[in-house]
Protein backbone atom coordinates (compact mmCIF):
# COMPACT_ATOMS: atom_id res chain seq x y z
CA UNK A 1 0.00 0.00 0.00
CA UNK A 2 1.32 3.46 -0.86
CA UNK A 3 2.11 5.90 1.95
CA UNK A 4 -0.98 7.99 2.67
CA UNK A 5 -1.37 11.40 4.32
CA UNK A 6 -3.76 10.72 7.20
CA UNK A 7 -5.24 13.01 9.84
CA UNK A 8 -6.74 11.54 13.02
CA UNK A 9 -9.00 13.80 15.08
CA UNK A 10 -9.36 12.02 18.40
CA UNK A 11 -9.49 13.39 21.94
CA UNK A 12 -8.67 10.12 23.71
CA UNK A 13 -4.87 9.75 24.18
CA UNK A 14 -5.03 5.93 24.27
CA UNK A 15 -7.09 5.80 21.08
CA UNK A 16 -4.60 8.20 19.43
CA UNK A 17 -1.70 5.96 20.48
CA UNK A 18 -3.46 2.92 19.03
CA UNK A 19 -4.03 4.70 15.72
CA UNK A 20 -0.38 5.75 15.67
CA UNK A 21 0.66 2.09 15.96
CA UNK A 22 -1.93 0.80 13.54
CA UNK A 23 -1.17 3.37 10.84
CA UNK A 24 2.60 3.49 11.41
CA UNK A 25 3.40 2.95 7.73
CA UNK A 26 1.60 6.16 6.74
CA UNK A 27 2.32 9.85 7.26
CA UNK A 28 0.22 10.72 10.31
CA UNK A 29 -1.04 13.93 11.80
CA UNK A 30 -3.14 14.22 14.96
CA UNK A 31 -5.60 16.73 16.38
CA UNK A 32 -7.11 16.39 19.84
CA UNK A 33 -10.10 18.69 19.45
CA UNK A 34 -12.44 20.16 16.88
CA UNK A 35 -10.66 23.53 16.51
CA UNK A 36 -7.25 21.92 15.93
CA UNK A 37 -8.85 19.43 13.53
CA UNK A 38 -10.43 22.22 11.52
CA UNK A 39 -7.16 24.15 11.36
CA UNK A 40 -5.18 21.11 10.22
CA UNK A 41 -7.78 20.20 7.62
CA UNK A 42 -7.81 23.73 6.22
CA UNK A 43 -4.03 23.96 6.00
CA UNK A 44 -3.05 20.36 5.29
CA UNK A 45 -3.12 18.08 2.27
CA UNK A 46 -4.58 14.96 3.81
CA UNK A 47 -6.04 12.13 1.79
CA UNK A 48 -7.90 10.40 4.61
CA UNK A 49 -9.28 11.83 7.85
CA UNK A 50 -10.53 9.76 10.79
CA UNK A 51 -12.87 11.80 13.00
CA UNK A 52 -14.06 10.76 16.44
CA UNK A 53 -17.67 11.78 16.94
CA UNK A 54 -17.45 13.12 20.49
CA UNK A 55 -14.39 15.27 21.04
CA UNK A 56 -14.01 15.90 24.74
CA UNK A 57 -16.03 15.29 27.89
CA UNK A 58 -19.72 16.25 27.66
CA UNK A 59 -19.23 16.85 23.95
CA UNK A 60 -22.28 16.54 21.74
CA UNK A 61 -21.08 15.08 18.44
CA UNK A 62 -18.84 18.07 17.56
CA UNK A 63 -16.91 15.76 15.24
CA UNK A 64 -19.84 16.10 12.84
CA UNK A 65 -18.90 19.76 12.26
CA UNK A 66 -15.60 18.70 10.72
CA UNK A 67 -17.18 16.47 8.07
CA UNK A 68 -18.12 19.28 5.64
CA UNK A 69 -14.70 20.89 6.09
CA UNK A 70 -12.96 17.62 5.18
CA UNK A 71 -15.43 16.73 2.43
CA UNK A 72 -15.08 20.19 0.86
CA UNK A 73 -11.34 19.57 0.52
CA UNK A 74 -11.94 16.21 -1.10
CA UNK A 75 -10.53 14.30 1.89
CA UNK A 76 -11.88 10.75 2.34
CA UNK A 77 -13.75 11.31 5.59
CA UNK A 78 -14.22 8.52 8.10
CA UNK A 79 -16.29 8.87 11.26
CA UNK A 80 -15.55 6.51 14.13
CA UNK A 81 -17.89 6.35 17.05
CA UNK A 82 -18.62 4.45 20.23
CA UNK A 83 -22.27 4.21 19.26
CA UNK A 84 -23.95 3.87 15.91
CA UNK A 85 -27.43 5.29 16.38
CA UNK A 86 -29.15 5.42 13.02
CA UNK A 87 -29.79 9.15 13.41
CA UNK A 88 -26.10 9.91 13.88
CA UNK A 89 -25.00 7.65 11.02
CA UNK A 90 -27.58 9.24 8.74
CA UNK A 91 -26.49 12.74 9.75
CA UNK A 92 -22.81 11.90 9.16
CA UNK A 93 -23.50 10.64 5.63
CA UNK A 94 -25.77 13.61 4.95
CA UNK A 95 -22.91 15.94 5.85
CA UNK A 96 -20.65 14.22 3.35
CA UNK A 97 -18.73 11.55 5.26
CA UNK A 98 -17.49 8.67 3.12
CA UNK A 99 -17.24 5.95 5.75
CA UNK A 100 -18.51 5.26 9.25
CA UNK A 101 -17.55 2.55 11.72
CA UNK A 102 -18.42 1.68 15.30
CA UNK A 103 -15.43 1.46 17.58
CA UNK A 104 -14.21 -2.03 18.51
CA UNK A 105 -12.17 -4.42 16.39
CA UNK A 106 -10.17 -1.46 15.09
CA UNK A 107 -7.58 -3.53 13.30
CA UNK A 108 -10.20 -4.88 10.89
CA UNK A 109 -12.11 -1.59 10.76
CA UNK A 110 -9.13 0.58 9.84
CA UNK A 111 -7.88 -1.95 7.28
CA UNK A 112 -11.30 -2.13 5.64
CA UNK A 113 -11.59 1.67 5.53
CA UNK A 114 -8.21 2.10 3.83
CA UNK A 115 -9.03 -0.60 1.35
CA UNK A 116 -12.34 1.11 0.46
CA UNK A 117 -10.50 4.42 0.09
CA UNK A 118 -7.96 2.88 -2.29
CA UNK A 119 -10.72 1.23 -4.33
CA UNK A 120 -12.50 4.55 -4.70
CA UNK A 121 -9.27 6.30 -5.62
CA UNK A 122 -8.68 3.76 -8.39
CA UNK A 123 -12.13 4.55 -9.75
CA UNK A 124 -11.29 8.25 -9.80
CA UNK A 125 -13.43 9.74 -6.96
CA UNK A 126 -13.15 13.50 -7.61
CA UNK A 127 -14.31 12.95 -11.20
CA UNK A 128 -17.71 11.96 -9.88
CA UNK A 129 -18.48 15.62 -9.16
CA UNK A 130 -17.69 16.61 -12.73
CA UNK A 131 -19.46 13.60 -14.22
CA UNK A 132 -22.63 13.77 -12.16
CA UNK A 133 -23.24 17.12 -10.48
CA UNK A 134 -21.52 19.72 -12.65
CA UNK A 135 -20.59 18.10 -15.91
CA UNK A 136 -17.39 19.50 -17.36
CA UNK A 137 -14.14 18.23 -18.75
CA UNK A 138 -12.69 21.70 -19.09
CA UNK A 139 -9.55 21.85 -16.92
CA UNK A 140 -9.90 25.54 -16.06
CA UNK A 141 -13.57 25.17 -15.07
CA UNK A 142 -12.75 22.11 -12.97
CA UNK A 143 -9.99 24.06 -11.26
CA UNK A 144 -12.31 27.03 -10.59
CA UNK A 145 -14.98 24.80 -9.08
CA UNK A 146 -12.53 22.73 -7.03
CA UNK A 147 -11.10 25.94 -5.57
CA UNK A 148 -14.58 27.32 -4.87
CA UNK A 149 -15.65 24.15 -3.10
CA UNK A 150 -12.86 24.64 -0.57
CA UNK A 151 -14.99 27.48 0.77
CA UNK A 152 -18.27 25.54 0.64
CA UNK A 153 -18.30 24.93 4.37
CA UNK A 154 -17.46 28.52 5.27
CA UNK A 155 -19.88 31.39 5.86
CA UNK A 156 -18.33 33.40 3.03
CA UNK A 157 -20.92 34.80 0.60
CA UNK A 158 -20.41 33.63 -2.98
CA UNK A 159 -21.00 35.56 -6.18
CA UNK A 160 -21.25 33.53 -9.38
CA UNK A 161 -20.77 35.42 -12.63
CA UNK A 162 -21.45 34.13 -16.09
CA UNK A 163 -23.80 34.33 -19.05
CA UNK A 164 -27.28 32.88 -18.83
CA UNK A 165 -27.42 29.08 -19.00
CA UNK A 166 -23.82 28.39 -17.92
CA UNK A 167 -24.81 26.45 -14.80
CA UNK A 168 -24.81 29.15 -12.10
CA UNK A 169 -27.77 27.60 -10.27
CA UNK A 170 -26.29 24.09 -10.51
CA UNK A 171 -23.02 25.32 -9.06
CA UNK A 172 -24.82 27.15 -6.25
CA UNK A 173 -26.65 23.93 -5.42
CA UNK A 174 -23.39 21.92 -5.37
CA UNK A 175 -21.84 24.49 -3.02
CA UNK A 176 -24.87 24.23 -0.75
CA UNK A 177 -24.78 20.43 -0.77
CA UNK A 178 -21.17 20.52 0.34
CA UNK A 179 -21.65 23.27 2.90
CA UNK A 180 -22.88 20.97 5.65
CA UNK A 181 -25.69 23.43 6.32
CA UNK A 182 -28.74 21.64 7.67
CA UNK A 183 -31.33 23.95 6.05
CA UNK A 184 -32.66 24.03 2.51
CA UNK A 185 -31.34 25.45 -0.72
CA UNK A 186 -33.81 28.21 -1.59
CA UNK A 187 -33.52 29.92 -4.97
CA UNK A 188 -35.20 33.03 -6.28
CA UNK A 189 -34.80 34.84 -9.59
CA UNK A 190 -34.88 38.53 -8.67
CA UNK A 191 -35.63 39.63 -12.25
CA UNK A 192 -38.87 37.65 -12.37
CA UNK A 193 -40.65 39.87 -9.84
CA UNK A 194 -41.68 43.48 -9.52
CA UNK A 195 -40.27 45.30 -6.50
CA UNK A 196 -43.36 44.74 -4.34
CA UNK A 197 -43.70 41.10 -5.27
CA UNK A 198 -40.00 40.49 -4.67
CA UNK A 199 -40.28 42.03 -1.22
CA UNK A 200 -43.23 39.78 -0.38
CA UNK A 201 -41.40 36.72 -1.77
CA UNK A 202 -38.21 37.42 0.16
CA UNK A 203 -39.57 38.64 3.47
CA UNK A 204 -42.95 36.90 3.56
CA UNK A 205 -46.13 38.52 4.79
CA UNK A 206 -48.88 38.33 7.37
CA UNK A 207 -52.49 37.72 6.45
CA UNK A 208 -54.07 41.02 5.35
CA UNK A 209 -50.74 42.80 4.84
CA UNK A 210 -51.92 43.92 1.41
CA UNK A 211 -54.84 43.34 -0.94
CA UNK A 212 -54.75 39.70 -1.91
CA UNK A 213 -52.75 38.51 1.11
CA UNK A 214 -55.44 36.02 2.16
CA UNK A 215 -53.06 33.94 4.27
CA UNK A 216 -49.75 34.50 5.98
CA UNK A 217 -46.79 33.26 3.97
CA UNK A 218 -43.22 32.41 4.90
CA UNK A 219 -40.67 34.32 2.83
CA UNK A 220 -37.57 32.89 1.15
CA UNK A 221 -35.34 34.36 3.86
CA UNK A 222 -37.05 32.28 6.51
CA UNK A 223 -37.28 29.21 4.26
CA UNK A 224 -33.49 29.39 3.92
CA UNK A 225 -32.89 29.35 7.68
CA UNK A 226 -29.66 27.36 8.34
CA UNK A 227 -29.49 26.81 4.60
CA UNK A 228 -28.57 28.78 1.51
CA UNK A 229 -30.44 31.63 -0.14
CA UNK A 230 -29.59 31.76 -3.84
CA UNK A 231 -30.35 35.15 -5.41
CA UNK A 232 -30.26 34.87 -9.18
CA UNK A 233 -30.08 38.00 -11.39
CA UNK A 234 -29.07 40.11 -8.40
CA UNK A 235 -28.30 43.07 -10.67
CA UNK A 236 -32.00 43.60 -11.35
CA UNK A 237 -32.83 44.32 -7.70
CA UNK A 238 -33.97 47.89 -6.93
CA UNK A 239 -31.99 50.15 -4.58
CA UNK A 240 -34.81 50.03 -2.05
CA UNK A 241 -34.78 46.23 -2.00
CA UNK A 242 -30.98 46.20 -1.75
CA UNK A 243 -31.22 48.41 1.36
CA UNK A 244 -33.82 46.16 2.98
CA UNK A 245 -31.96 42.98 2.12
CA UNK A 246 -28.63 44.40 3.27
CA UNK A 247 -30.15 45.10 6.69
CA UNK A 248 -31.54 41.55 6.86
CA UNK A 249 -28.17 40.07 5.86
CA UNK A 250 -26.29 42.11 8.44
CA UNK A 251 -28.72 41.63 11.31
CA UNK A 252 -30.07 38.18 10.39
CA UNK A 253 -33.40 39.63 11.48
CA UNK A 254 -36.24 41.10 9.43
CA UNK A 255 -39.93 41.92 9.56
CA UNK A 256 -42.35 40.13 7.21
CA UNK A 257 -44.79 42.56 5.52
CA UNK A 258 -47.57 43.55 7.89
CA UNK A 259 -45.87 42.04 10.92
CA UNK A 260 -44.52 43.81 13.99
CA UNK A 261 -42.75 40.66 15.17
CA UNK A 262 -39.20 40.19 13.84
CA UNK A 263 -38.10 36.87 12.34
CA UNK A 264 -34.59 35.48 12.59
CA UNK A 265 -32.88 33.40 9.93
CA UNK A 266 -29.32 32.10 9.62
CA UNK A 267 -28.93 31.89 5.87
CA UNK A 268 -25.86 31.96 3.69
CA UNK A 269 -26.04 34.07 0.54
CA UNK A 270 -25.01 32.88 -2.89
CA UNK A 271 -25.84 35.32 -5.66
CA UNK A 272 -25.46 35.24 -9.40
CA UNK A 273 -25.65 37.66 -12.27
CA UNK A 274 -24.78 38.07 -15.91
CA UNK A 275 -24.49 41.85 -15.58
CA UNK A 276 -21.42 43.98 -15.08
CA UNK A 277 -21.77 44.79 -11.38
CA UNK A 278 -18.97 47.36 -11.36
CA UNK A 279 -20.81 49.20 -14.13
CA UNK A 280 -24.04 49.11 -12.11
CA UNK A 281 -22.19 50.56 -9.09
CA UNK A 282 -20.76 53.36 -11.22
CA UNK A 283 -24.22 54.09 -12.59
CA UNK A 284 -25.67 54.25 -9.08
CA UNK A 285 -27.87 51.21 -9.68
CA UNK A 286 -26.10 48.97 -7.18
CA UNK A 287 -25.21 49.99 -3.62
CA UNK A 288 -21.53 49.49 -2.92
CA UNK A 289 -22.19 48.29 0.64
CA UNK A 290 -24.66 45.72 -0.72
CA UNK A 291 -22.15 44.59 -3.34
CA UNK A 292 -19.46 44.30 -0.63
CA UNK A 293 -21.78 42.07 1.39
CA UNK A 294 -22.48 39.61 -1.42
CA UNK A 295 -19.16 39.21 -3.18
CA UNK A 296 -16.99 37.36 -0.64
CA UNK A 297 -15.84 34.76 -3.16
CA UNK A 298 -16.32 35.42 -6.87
CA UNK A 299 -16.55 32.58 -9.37
CA UNK A 300 -16.73 33.18 -13.09
CA UNK A 301 -18.22 30.50 -15.33
CA UNK A 302 -17.19 30.35 -18.96
CA UNK A 303 -19.79 30.23 -21.76
CA UNK A 304 -20.20 26.89 -23.50
CA UNK A 305 -18.59 28.34 -26.64
CA UNK A 306 -15.36 28.67 -24.62
CA UNK A 307 -15.46 25.04 -23.46
CA UNK A 308 -16.71 23.10 -26.44
CA UNK A 309 -15.05 19.95 -25.13
CA UNK A 310 -18.02 19.76 -22.76
CA UNK A 311 -20.63 19.48 -25.53
CA UNK A 312 -20.53 15.70 -25.96
CA UNK A 313 -20.09 14.83 -22.25
CA UNK A 314 -23.14 17.05 -21.60
CA UNK A 315 -25.12 15.35 -24.37
CA UNK A 316 -24.30 11.94 -22.84
CA UNK A 317 -25.35 13.25 -19.43
CA UNK A 318 -28.64 14.74 -20.62
CA UNK A 319 -29.58 11.66 -22.64
CA UNK A 320 -28.73 9.19 -19.89
CA UNK A 321 -31.48 6.69 -19.22
CA UNK A 322 -33.22 7.62 -22.47
CA UNK A 323 -32.68 6.89 -26.10
CA UNK A 324 -29.07 6.35 -27.12
CA UNK A 325 -28.08 9.06 -29.60
CA UNK A 326 -25.48 8.44 -32.23
CA UNK A 327 -24.16 11.42 -34.23
CA UNK A 328 -22.73 11.30 -37.72
CA UNK A 329 -19.34 12.97 -38.16
CA UNK A 330 -20.95 15.92 -39.92
CA UNK A 331 -23.60 16.31 -37.22
CA UNK A 332 -20.84 16.35 -34.62
CA UNK A 333 -18.96 19.00 -36.54
CA UNK A 334 -22.13 21.11 -36.74
CA UNK A 335 -22.65 20.92 -32.99
CA UNK A 336 -19.03 21.91 -32.40
CA UNK A 337 -19.23 24.81 -34.86
CA UNK A 338 -22.36 26.28 -33.24
CA UNK A 339 -21.84 29.24 -30.86
CA UNK A 340 -24.41 28.15 -28.26
CA UNK A 341 -25.58 31.63 -27.22
CA UNK A 342 -28.02 30.02 -24.77
CA UNK A 343 -25.17 27.87 -23.40
CA UNK A 344 -25.96 24.62 -21.56
CA UNK A 345 -29.68 25.42 -21.37
CA UNK A 346 -29.76 25.62 -25.16
CA UNK A 347 -27.83 22.36 -25.51
CA UNK A 348 -30.23 20.62 -23.12
CA UNK A 349 -33.17 21.82 -25.21
CA UNK A 350 -31.54 20.35 -28.33
CA UNK A 351 -30.97 17.02 -26.57
CA UNK A 352 -34.57 16.98 -25.30
CA UNK A 353 -35.84 17.55 -28.83
CA UNK A 354 -33.53 14.86 -30.21
CA UNK A 355 -34.65 12.41 -27.55
CA UNK A 356 -38.29 13.13 -28.37
CA UNK A 357 -37.69 12.47 -32.09
CA UNK A 358 -37.94 9.16 -33.90
CA UNK A 359 -34.35 8.60 -34.91
CA UNK A 360 -31.48 7.51 -32.68
CA UNK A 361 -28.98 8.19 -35.46
CA UNK A 362 -28.55 11.96 -35.73
CA UNK A 363 -27.77 13.42 -39.15
CA UNK A 364 -26.63 16.98 -40.02
CA UNK A 365 -30.07 17.94 -41.43
CA UNK A 366 -31.70 17.17 -38.05
CA UNK A 367 -29.06 19.11 -36.14
CA UNK A 368 -29.39 22.12 -38.46
CA UNK A 369 -33.17 22.14 -38.11
CA UNK A 370 -33.08 21.82 -34.32
CA UNK A 371 -30.45 24.51 -33.89
CA UNK A 372 -32.58 26.91 -35.94
CA UNK A 373 -35.66 26.07 -33.86
CA UNK A 374 -33.87 26.52 -30.54
CA UNK A 375 -32.20 29.78 -31.55
CA UNK A 376 -35.58 31.13 -32.72
CA UNK A 377 -37.22 30.09 -29.42
CA UNK A 378 -34.48 31.79 -27.43
CA UNK A 379 -34.74 34.92 -29.53
CA UNK A 380 -38.46 35.15 -28.89
CA UNK A 381 -38.04 34.90 -25.13
CA UNK A 382 -35.12 37.35 -25.18
CA UNK A 383 -37.34 40.07 -26.62
CA UNK A 384 -39.38 40.32 -23.46
CA UNK A 385 -38.43 38.56 -20.23
CA UNK A 386 -40.92 37.91 -17.41
CA UNK A 387 -39.18 40.54 -15.30
CA UNK A 388 -39.43 43.16 -18.03
CA UNK A 389 -43.09 42.40 -18.61
CA UNK A 390 -43.89 42.74 -14.90
CA UNK A 391 -41.95 46.00 -14.75
CA UNK A 392 -44.05 47.35 -17.62
CA UNK A 393 -47.25 46.33 -15.81
CA UNK A 394 -46.13 48.11 -12.65
CA UNK A 395 -44.53 51.26 -14.08
CA UNK A 396 -46.01 51.66 -17.54
CA UNK A 397 -44.43 51.11 -20.96
CA UNK A 398 -42.89 54.59 -21.27
CA UNK A 399 -40.91 54.28 -18.04
CA UNK A 400 -39.89 50.73 -18.94
CA UNK A 401 -38.66 51.92 -22.34
CA UNK A 402 -36.59 54.67 -20.65
CA UNK A 403 -35.10 52.05 -18.35
CA UNK A 404 -34.22 49.86 -21.33
CA UNK A 405 -32.59 52.81 -23.14
CA UNK A 406 -30.67 53.82 -19.97
CA UNK A 407 -29.32 50.30 -19.50
CA UNK A 408 -28.14 50.14 -23.12
CA UNK A 409 -26.51 53.59 -22.90
CA UNK A 410 -24.73 52.76 -19.63
CA UNK A 411 -23.39 49.50 -20.95
CA UNK A 412 -22.28 50.99 -24.23
CA UNK A 413 -20.58 53.89 -22.41
CA UNK A 414 -18.72 51.45 -20.16
CA UNK A 415 -17.64 49.34 -23.16
CA UNK A 416 -16.39 52.44 -24.98
CA UNK A 417 -14.47 54.05 -22.15
CA UNK A 418 -17.12 56.76 -21.64
CA UNK A 419 -16.77 58.14 -25.19
CA UNK A 420 -20.18 59.59 -26.12
CA UNK A 421 -19.47 59.85 -29.84
CA UNK A 422 -18.82 56.12 -29.99
CA UNK A 423 -22.05 55.44 -28.11
CA UNK A 424 -24.01 57.60 -30.56
CA UNK A 425 -22.70 55.66 -33.51
CA UNK A 426 -22.81 52.19 -31.89
CA UNK A 427 -26.41 52.55 -30.71
CA UNK A 428 -27.57 54.64 -33.66
CA UNK A 429 -29.35 57.16 -31.41
CA UNK A 430 -29.71 60.95 -31.47
CA UNK A 431 -27.68 63.28 -29.27
CA UNK A 432 -30.95 64.41 -27.67
CA UNK A 433 -31.83 60.81 -26.66
CA UNK A 434 -28.32 60.20 -25.29
CA UNK A 435 -28.38 63.31 -23.11
CA UNK A 436 -31.95 62.66 -21.96
CA UNK A 437 -30.79 59.23 -20.81
CA UNK A 438 -27.69 60.60 -19.09
CA UNK A 439 -29.83 63.15 -17.30
CA UNK A 440 -32.04 60.35 -15.92
CA UNK A 441 -29.09 58.14 -14.89
CA UNK A 442 -25.90 60.24 -14.79
Amino acid sequence: MSRLEILVVEDDPLARKLMEKRLAEHSLDFAADSAAGRQKLEKGKHQVCFIDLNLGPKDDCSGLDLIPVAAAKGVYTVVMSGHDSEKVVEKAYELGCDDFYSKGNEEANVGAVLSRFLQRREKGGPDQLFAERFVTEDAATRQTITEALKYAASELPVLILGPSGTGKTSLARVIHERSGRSGDFVAINCSAYTEDLLEAELFGYRKGAFTGAGDSRKGKLLQADRGTLFLDEIGSMSLKMQTKLLKAIEERTFYPLGSDRPETSQFRIISATLEDLQGLIKAGKLRFDFFSRIHGLTIELKPLAARKGDIFPLISFFSRGGKRLSFSAQAKAQLLAHDWPGNIRELKRVVDLLAAGQEGRVLPETVGKLLRTVVAEAGASDVLTDGQYRYILEHGLAKAADRFVDAAVRRCLAENGGKKTKVLSALGISTRLLYASLKRAP
Partner: protein
Protein backbone atom coordinates in the same frame (compact mmCIF):
# COMPACT_ATOMS: atom_id res chain seq x y z
CA UNK B 1 -36.71 12.69 30.05
CA UNK B 2 -34.90 13.82 26.91
CA UNK B 3 -31.90 14.99 28.95
CA UNK B 4 -31.79 11.69 30.83
CA UNK B 5 -31.84 9.80 27.53
CA UNK B 6 -29.09 12.00 26.18
CA UNK B 7 -26.99 11.34 29.28
CA UNK B 8 -27.51 7.60 28.89
CA UNK B 9 -26.57 7.81 25.21
CA UNK B 10 -23.39 9.62 26.15
CA UNK B 11 -22.55 7.03 28.81
CA UNK B 12 -23.08 4.17 26.35
CA UNK B 13 -20.85 5.95 23.85
CA UNK B 14 -18.10 6.64 26.38
CA UNK B 15 -18.13 3.11 27.83
CA UNK B 16 -18.02 1.57 24.36
CA UNK B 17 -15.21 3.85 23.23
CA UNK B 18 -13.10 3.39 26.34
CA UNK B 19 -13.62 -0.39 26.47
CA UNK B 20 -12.75 -0.83 22.81
CA UNK B 21 -9.56 1.22 23.27
CA UNK B 22 -8.63 -0.86 26.34
CA UNK B 23 -9.31 -4.13 24.53
CA UNK B 24 -7.30 -3.06 21.50
CA UNK B 25 -4.46 -1.80 23.68
CA UNK B 26 -4.39 -5.09 25.59
CA UNK B 27 -4.17 -6.98 22.30
CA UNK B 28 -1.36 -4.73 21.17
CA UNK B 29 0.71 -5.16 24.35
CA UNK B 30 2.17 -8.39 22.99
CA UNK B 31 3.10 -6.83 19.66
CA UNK B 32 4.94 -3.71 20.82
CA UNK B 33 8.54 -3.53 22.02
CA UNK B 34 8.89 -3.83 25.79
CA UNK B 35 10.31 -0.29 25.92
CA UNK B 36 6.91 1.08 24.91
CA UNK B 37 4.87 -1.04 27.30
CA UNK B 38 5.19 1.36 30.24
CA UNK B 39 3.70 4.21 28.19
CA UNK B 40 0.89 1.95 27.00
CA UNK B 41 0.14 0.74 30.50
CA UNK B 42 0.05 4.31 31.85
CA UNK B 43 -2.43 5.31 29.13
CA UNK B 44 -4.51 2.20 29.82
CA UNK B 45 -4.56 2.94 33.58
CA UNK B 46 -5.76 6.48 32.87
CA UNK B 47 -8.39 5.11 30.54
CA UNK B 48 -9.65 2.67 33.16
CA UNK B 49 -9.82 5.48 35.73
CA UNK B 50 -11.88 7.64 33.33
CA UNK B 51 -14.18 4.68 32.68
CA UNK B 52 -14.76 4.25 36.41
CA UNK B 53 -15.38 8.01 36.77
CA UNK B 54 -17.90 8.00 33.92
CA UNK B 55 -19.83 5.17 35.56
CA UNK B 56 -19.65 6.72 39.02
CA UNK B 57 -20.82 10.14 37.80
CA UNK B 58 -23.78 8.82 35.87
CA UNK B 59 -27.05 9.74 37.59
CA UNK B 60 -29.77 7.33 36.54
CA UNK B 61 -33.20 8.74 35.75
CA UNK B 62 -35.03 8.96 39.14
CA UNK B 63 -38.27 7.76 37.50
Amino acid sequence: VKDAEKELDRLVHDVNSRCSSLRDAAAMLRKIPSSERAEFLALMTEQARKLADDLAQFKPDPA
